[in-house]
Symmetry: C2
Subunit: 436 residues, 2 copies
Amino acid sequence: MLRPPMADPSFQSLPGFRDFIPRECAVRNYLFETWRGVARRCGYSEYETPILEDTGLYLKKSGGELSAQLFRFEDQGGRDVTLRPEVTASLARLVAQHQRDFPKPMKWFEIGQCFRYEKPQKGRGREFHQFNVDILGEAGPAADAELIALAIETMLAFGFVAGDFVVRVSDRKAWMDFAARHAIAEECVPDFLNIIDKLEREKPAALATKLAAFNLTPEAVREFIAMPTNASSAYQAILADLTARGFAGCVQLDLSIVRGLAYYTGVVFEVFDAKKSMRAVAGGGRYDTLVATLSGGNVDLPATGFAMGDYVIRNLIEETTHAAMQMEVWLQRNAAACDVFVVVADESQRPTALRLVTDLRRAGIAADLPLAAAKVPKQFQSAERSRARFALIVGTEYPALKLKILASRAEETGHADSAVAWLTARLQQPDGPLLA
Amino acid sequence: MLRPPMADPSFQSLPGFRDFIPRECAVRNYLFETWRGVARRCGYSEYETPILEDTGLYLKKSGGELSAQLFRFEDQGGRDVTLRPEVTASLARLVAQHQRDFPKPMKWFEIGQCFRYEKPQKGRGREFHQFNVDILGEAGPAADAELIALAIETMLAFGFVAGDFVVRVSDRKAWMDFAARHAIAEECVPDFLNIIDKLEREKPAALATKLAAFNLTPEAVREFIAMPTNASSAYQAILADLTARGFAGCVQLDLSIVRGLAYYTGVVFEVFDAKKSMRAVAGGGRYDTLVATLSGGNVDLPATGFAMGDYVIRNLIEETTHAAMQMEVWLQRNAAACDVFVVVADESQRPTALRLVTDLRRAGIAADLPLAAAKVPKQFQSAERSRARFALIVGTEYPALKLKILASRAEETGHADSAVAWLTARLQQPDGPLLA
């Protein structure tokens, strides 16, 4: 049968979208399981919102640079819809609708995919996974501290130690006070904060011009940032709280941080690698008016939250030896396709082998067997490739069974009638550094 | 501050898209964890593909009723793209690209979201989650049997028993032989199979007219379906294999099943509730030419796979008492926001309580505390609402600590220095039927 020699070029993944072959999927699962584990340990409940939303949800409230990057289109029903660029707006909508049913504060988390239509580049695709954590219904700085503590716990859970990373904390309130003192009108504050947000990325001349419109100089702004006494009282409370937890060494005041999104109202923070050689690993802050805005004023709930994407944290893990090793150990332990590979040494015993594999699986043991008749050495090769710990040989001596420990080549024998109990017990004993 | 009285109507989820509040998200996680657990026990490796793909991937190869329901649009770069309606086409693309790196057969699974633009109705949204399981690189019926065994194991893992469900197995080859015997041209076979697919849903007169075009009558077709001897040899081999595994009672021949998608080439099957009162719970079959087609003939890999969506299986669980009870037990066990709720009986001890919570969390214990000062009875109320097993009281008698078992109201005392070891040991002992 003749076929065209080249693959149809349309059959590739879209630019900026990733395929996850098993090893990549395992890395993804490592991030997800670590995120989920930390959040549960810290008393957060998991939720999820749709990945497609009415565009109005983002255009009207998120503001900032987000609206230019929306993955936006018209659906078949003529709706203006967007693949979610972030989850906070959906959460605020969801919470406005359901908060009555939950005691406050609500500590909620989510792990899911977000989308931005921007030029794909190294370390930034058109889709990414994000860990979102929020505390709703508590206005005090104890909630911000609890949230920042979770960000720190997450870094520690990935194997980072104090000194590998730092949480830079700021407070938009300090800037609002600054703006008031410098007679910046309330409606101009978002524009002013946008200038602060880009302070270090803006060209000096452009920066000076932009600040001049507010009768300010870059020097005046930098001087404000440099003064620790400009920290808000919320920051002081957060620092005391985190110090009590043993996290003082992980936190720094950094008033240059204001975050890009328009909905933040108070404390904001970003997590960076200690060398600040990468973009922020995570970021977030307080958004006390978003729920009220999205519910048309029906529900007024103070809130604080943060998000961590999968691209930057993975980069940082891979570039930090001890964190990379911890991930590698996890990947090794999860790379096995099965624990027990059944070798059918006598093809006439296949029905017996099928039953045995079924019994093992039912007992919670990951078990497999070759699907086609093959010579015994080839089956052992398949067993090795599956990274199973044990090969269990079903042959002419059945119901006697031979067990081969693949790491050590040691052999044991057992009886088919007690195979499940035998293998269950055997799997609980370690038998080597790599496959333990 | 005056706010408009009504919520902006645009701030609702889109029709057919679901919000998952924590209880709904826990149900989703129950499905996901069960699917993932079964697949791993049976030796499958997890992968993932993008949820957005070039539309060509679906238009040209999936065929059948799918193309009418595509969630399709033009992206900002002028690309014709589609939110994936299914995962098999993406898998075939991925495998064509990477199969060289993996020993055969490849046993792969995926859990993810799919989208169809159709009228939302009870039990069918515009998005749904799907469990996809495939075996690639093995052409024999042993692969189909292994795959059907996984479908059965999945049902058993959800708590269904033989008699609750049945796997109806068919083979397109039997119909291709039938077509050849009735002089139906090869290029007309897809149209003919479409008629068979809708046999029981089509109005009698329309059915007769459509079959007449092939010189056939509804009676001739029904007679063919009713004859067990028309089963293919592959079906016989699958039945023998599944019988050896103890699954004979879960399988039935049903030649009326041909499946809607154009890419199936051989054995096809669907899982139904025993009363057949719902749509199929799962379905799949052999697609031996899809990888070759999508790789432009570069890679030729036989394959068989199936998918199970989250809507129908959840319905069936909820309508089957023993399966519903198993899920409820899982949900109860996973509903607790934490295991240990720390009560700050003396607010001056808050720093101590923060440190204690941090230590417990670091030891893997889910622990929480109130974020604001509150009277002790109110804190106990919060502890109850969090569904914690224990309240740990930090008060004036610190470093002595009081532990209250919330189910039994029993109390114990311990010392702060050994709190982690004490709580770890205590959590391993059951203390009541509901919270064990």
